[in-house]
């Protein structure tokens, strides 16, 4: 039986600001995971990652991160991605302060 492919988003850091960005379905980038394109097909995910890697003037270090679908868009499955989505826990800085 073929192994199941867990849903993913393409993510990286913005070149100038360095903050976390996610690829959207319309080939753009969002700072809000809720608006990211969720990829549930492995071949498609790899294609979308290639697309991201072809934009070195926009982002740095693109990779595929695991998510699970939630009512308000995708949710990270690993705590590291959880911190990337919100910001540090010692100050109200980063995304938690910037995205309402």
């Amino acid at each position: 039986m073929a192994r199941t492919f867990s849903p993913k988003v393409v993510t990286g850091n913005a070149l100038i600001e360095g903050d976390v960005v996610y690829q959207t379905a319309d080939d753009g980038w969002t700072r809000d995971l809720a608006h990211a394109e969720v990829l549930s097909d492995e071949a498609q995910a790899n294609l979308r990652l290639l697309m991201a890697e072809g934009q070195p003037e926009v982002i740095v270090g693109a990779y595929l991160a695991d998510v699970t679908p939630g009512t308000d868009g995708p949710v990270p499955t690993h705590f590291r991605e959880g911190f990337r989505r919100t910001g540090p826990s010692n100050y109200f800085h980063g995304k938690q302060a910037e995205i309402g």
Partner: protein, 555 residues
């Protein structure tokens, strides 16, 4: 303090101009990230979880007020109003934009500072005892030799592409406050029959394979020091494992070849290169030493201090904990804690930085130091000024009386910032400090060093903490391993693992059980944690940690 000569200033200005162009080329797309990354790392610029991070060197931890104010300006103008002081006497800015970094570097150059060689496989910022020039127990001030090494190692053509990074620390005292036993090279200034020289230790390091350094030479004379250091780094540069980054540090080279083999190779190399050092380095060293001449200490009454000490219990508590003995009569070394309970260890706001700069100017001969324990030191304060200084510190939340106590925790940035981290460190440190403050126990517990790292790279020195905490990712959940009995001094010792790790919400109660076990086990309040551990060993602590946990679980 050393001030840049034309050569230093020219070198930094040229490098800044080159980096400005490199950033422009990266932004325009002319450089790929793969091409740009080694260039930004050579200039201290990392990309972390939420943003870029700029790591600025504070050579041998020494600052004056102008430098401290400029660090505050960078925090306000290009960051979020604070900076994080690290265990290697650097300051890190967590939120700069790539396009702003060239301006930040130019602003640093205005006060003789830079971020060169704070990353990459080079010789990093040379660190030193934070009581340098002030400690009563000092053989000689380690800063002049640290500055000599800084100049020698900066842009050294042979040492720009080494197998891995290379860290050097210097202590001028037998009470090692620079962790020299856990550095690639540790230098201890020694006095042999009136001649000052250096005991050289190599191959120490923490990280994934922790090792205590080994003595390669008991006495290297001043004139031989730079060629000797060059011989050590040169031997390792050729011999070090470039095939495997986890085996590339000199500690592995020394471990694999043995200290005697390395010593023989270094001696041979030293013989070959010694003649090329013509004595310019020794003349330069004399010039540098003059730049670090002690300030003119004043002879004045300390009656004001003694009165305040008797009448003000808060001042007395702070004096007992945060002052250290100065070599000049009537003076004290003031340690300013950046560990207010519940705050992030090592962080200072721009407002606090400016306050400390002002206080150094008013009361401290314009000198400040950053300690590897992530605190700030005013090395020269006359005791008669201490009550006024303490009153000012209180206004800026800088008067926490906890130096050396359980809440004076070393913690790396961990997964709140660092891309390499496997778990968080900062909130664990914050909660331990808050918890023991609430219990009002820390003064009773006494000298106890907790050190926390958020991954095996051990930036938080957990292996040499009396209680060490290592945060790991166990199957997608934060998990914390505990070690006991580590020691960072010249009697360096790696801590012993207690056993299975603890979940994020179990780690604070676990530390509490260790501390209560210690209070039960110690013979009297004079027996410090390390001594108790040495006497009773792991067994009773293990019982306190795990038997009780099982008992609670069974309830």
């Amino acid at each position: 303090m050393y001030t840049y000569n034309e050569f230093d200033a020219g070198f930094v200005a040229k490098r800044n101009s080159q980096f400005r162009q490199q950033v422009e080329r990266r932004i325009s797309g002319a450089l790929s990230e793969d091409e740009f990354k080694p260039l930004r790392l050579m200039n201290g610029l990392y990309l972390q979880l939420h943003a870029y991070m700029l790591r600025v060197a504070i050579p041998y931890g020494t600052l004056d007020s102008a430098k401290m104010r400029q660090l505050a300006l960078l925090a306000d103008k290009w960051d979020k109003g604070y900076g994080h002081f690290t265990t290697r006497q650097n300051i890190q800015y967590n939120w700069p934009k790539l396009s702003d970094v060239p301006d930040m570097l130019d602003a640093l150059a205005e006060v003789d500072m830079h971020a060169i060689q704070t990353s990459g496989n080079t010789i990093r910022n040379v660190t030193a005892d934070h009581f340098a020039g002030a400690g009563a127990d000092e053989v000689a001030d380690p800063r002049p030799v640290a500055e000599l090494i800084r100049q020698w190692s900066s842009d050294h053509p042979e040492f720009q592409f080494m197998p891995r990074k290379f860290k050097i620390a210097v202590t001028g005292s037998v009470n090692d406050r620079a962790v020299i036993m856990a550095h690639d090279i540790g230098l201890q200034i020694v006095d042999r029959d009136g001649e000052i020289g250096y005991r050289v230790v190599i191959g120490g390091g923490l990280g994934r394979t922790p090792m205590i350094g080994k003595v390669i030479n008991d006495f290297v004379a001043q004139g031989d020091l730079l060629p000797y250091l060059e011989a050590v780094v040169s031997v390792w540069n050729l011999l070090g494992r470039r095939d495997n980054k986890y085996k590339a540090r000199i500690k592995i080279t020394v471990h694999e070849h043995g200290i005697d083999d390395i010593r023989a190779r270094v001696d041979e190399r030293f013989k070959a290169i010694r003649p090329s050092f013509t004595g310019v380095d020794v003349a330069l060293f004399e010039d540098i030493k003059a730049a670090f001449a002690p300030p003119a200490f004043r002879d004045a009454s300390t009656a004001v201090y003694e009165t305040a000490y008797k009448s003000d219990p808060i001042f007395r508590s702070w004096s007992d904990t945060n002052l250290a003995q100065h070599r000049a009569p009537g003076y004290a070394i003031v340690q300013i804690s950046l560990k207010a309970h519940g705050e992030t260890p090592g962080d200072a706001s721009s407002e606090q930085m400016r306050a400390m700069a002002d206080l150094a100017e008013t009361y401290g001969h314009n000198e400040l130091r950053i300690s590897h324990e992530q605190n700030v030191i005013l090395p020269h304060v006359h005791k008669s000024d201490l009550p006024a200084l303490h009153a000012e510190l209180k206004k800026h939340r800088l008067a926490t009386a906890n130096i050396g106590l359980i809440s004076d925790i070393i913690a790396c940035p961990g997964m709140d910032y660092c891309a390499l981290a496997t778990a968080r460190s900062i909130p664990v440190a914050q909660q331990i400090a808050t918890r023991f403050d609430a219990l009002k126990l820390e003064h009773e517990v006494g000298d106890l060093k907790i050190k926390i790292s958020g991954c095996i790279n051990a930036c938080g020195h957990h292996h040499v903490g009396h209680i060490g905490i290592l945060g790991l990712d166990r199957a997608g959940v934060e998990n914390y391993q505990i070690t006991l009995g580590g020691d960072h001094t010249l009697d360096a010792r790696l801590g012993d693992r207690t056993g299975p790790g603890f979940a994020y919400d179990e780690i604070i109660p676990a530390v509490e059980r260790i501390v209560y076990a210690y209070l039960d086990l110690r013979t009297d309040p004079e027996e410090q944690f390390l001594a108790t551990y040495a006497r009773v060993g792991m067994t009773p602590f293990k019982a306190a940690l795990y038997d009780k946990a099982q008992a609670y679980a069974a309830e």
